[in-house]
Amino acid sequence: MENWSWMLDESASSVGPQIDRLYYIILVITGIVFVATEVTLLYFLFKYRHREGHKAEYIHGNTKAEIIWTAIPALIVLAIALMSRGLWAEIKDPANVPADAMRVMLEAKQFEWNLTYPGPDGELRTGDDFTVRNRLDIPLDRPTVLEMTSVDVIHSFFVPDFRLKQDIVPGMAMQMWFQPTRAGVFPIGCAELCGIGHTRMRGTLTVHSPADYQAWVNEQVQGAASAAEPAAPAPATQAQ
């Protein structure tokens, strides 16, 4: 039965509660309009059903009613638009990308996500970077910025619990930031049809406590160092 729910699962990112709030506002408004219009429809169908010897009333319209039912929906949808506008800017405005964020590079290709992390020096594009496949691991206490590129077709990076989705267009450098609000393991999916293997282009996002995150980074770096000796490719930790 819970599959039939109109409620959203609890979110795990800073923008999640705001998106969810807007969703619930729209759900309530549209829910009221839905019930009101459908009940009116059914009531009219019952009340004005054909009866012998009865004639319909000759009415062409009512300007006052028409003005009212134009103005009210207009005000409601404008209110929704204004609320949406503010939140949209908050999420998407490049000026809002936090300066202290950890930066991770994401390269999408058929049908995998390759994530490159800054090594112990905390800087990307230096010698100690390491790459992991289909796993995004981040600390809880800092925002993360993904620098995203695609090498072939359009993919869409989708983290349902974070209320996060961004198409990644080849030839375009794109950015997306987020701030987790709780530790845990969350699924990552590809939301844009990207070819035969689209259905298996998935990964996991793990939010660590700060200490756990450091331990994870160290583990990856050591793994990379020991793997580098027998000239093996960069360690690819397969999710699932």
Partner: protein, 601 residues
Amino acid sequence: MATHAATAEGHATGAGHDEHHKLSFIRTYIFSTDHKMIAKQFLLASLLFLLIGGILAGLVRWQLGFPGQPIPFIGSMFSDTTAPGGIILPEFYNSLVTMHATFMIFFAIMPLLVGVWGNFLIPLQIGAPDMAFPRLNTASFWISVPAGILMLASFFVEGGAAGAGWTSYAPLSANPEYSGVHMGQVLWLVSLIILGFSSLTGAVNYITTIINMRAPGMTWFRMPLPTWSLFVTSWLLLLAIPILTGGLIMLLFDQTIGTGFFNPATDGEPLLWQHIFWYFGHPEVYILILPAMGLVSEVISNRARKPIFGYHAMVLAIISIAFLGWVVWGHHMFQSGMNPLLGTSFMISTIIIAVPSAIKVFNWLGTLWKGDIHFDVPMLHALAFVAMFIIGGLSGIFMASAPVDIPIHDTYFIVAHIHYVLFGGSLFGIFAGITFWFPKMFGRMMSPKLGKIHFWVTIFAYNAVFFPMHNLGLRNHMRRIYDPNSYEYLQPLQGLNTFISIAAFILIAGQMIFAFSFFYSMFFGEKAEQNPWKSNTLEWTAAGHPPGHGNFPGGTPHVYRGPYEYSSPESNEDFLPQGVPPEPVRRGAVPREPGFLPTGD
């Protein structure tokens, strides 16, 4: 009332027109220039494509409801490159999803609304003898035939049919290296380019006919709403199709001769395709719904025996929806990487479009208010249109809000929304139209009993299929994925997916009732009276079912009033046709043919 001429008499008048006899079989049934015959050709062809689209949907639902299991009964018929042993392969699944939408949108719903009713209703409702360009009209149908054949043929070429989605986002659609499909994609592109010419020739014809050939007295604001909506739709076609065709040609060049319009490696721009596609694609959504709104308005006013509530507002709503429809395309691209500032302006324009849509719904409710409602089969479908369009319209507000669109974009919530608009809206509108005008097209009534069974099966099964898709979307079920179970978090939804699939099979099977009733009634249905629905519009006063060559053998009708004068105090009955002169005129010269002015011939 003068319009109740007996059927037999009607036939005699129509057939008596001698020009009608001279035409050979080929000129009458195949390369006909008669708009009514062309409408029937479009009707049969597009019902066939509706069936094909439905079967493809059934296969998609099989994979989602029973993943990895062999298709029952027909499984062994599939080749090893599509579904070996009846088990659907992922590449075939992508083709099925792509081609289901392609056939339904371009080859079923669009011609069922525009090709069929544009042809059948426009000349009859405005009192014209035929289309402005009858031969162009013949061409418009016959151009669409090779397009359909090429699209069907693409299933049988190497690599299979196109599999990049009906939206064919580049670079997936531009480069066979990425999709594994080359010939199928080329045929998809060529077919749609050809089909575009069919739509264009049709649109030019409808616009010219309506502007130039309205009968005396048929002023703009006396035009029935189906004709109004088809007029506005034709403008959308005329302006949108060339944009799509341009984009298709660019994509075809990318796919075949090595250009790189959409290829980033040669400084091409993948998002350009999306802008072109949706600049066409959003007006296309209105091309697919406005004519259905027109048909439904006609049926509701007629069966409620009441003037349409706010006729002028209805016309203005159609026009403003069409205008606003040009500035909202970016709402399909909120998550595409387009500049977020653009997203803001598209969000506001999109959300404003809810207003004229709401006006239409309230005016339909207003028409029912204090009416005298007859629940005939066309009315059931028209009322279902209103009830379902409300759901489709309201669910649209969720994704119109760009932040809320983030989680639901590209999920089953969108699939639910589009089907509430295109099936709950357009297709119920089409059923309303076919069951309403069937007597005028074929001279016989469709069986009310079969019609009611078909309606109730359809409305229940339809909602069982598409309503829970909203919930799938809210559980983050992506669209277009071959095997949802590959995601652990989607595995608990398998039961719901299976439920939807079973309902879908019932829905598809239920349409066979309609198919049977359609063909049975065509030959064995009860003979229709001249004006079985006691309608006001001119097509019902044109003699004959269908009217003979030239439509109005008694001479060009004269129009005295608006199309929805039902239950007018001016008449003892509950209708007052557009062509019946008002009292003082009637006392003078009694027209020779009921409903027409005598002409000088």
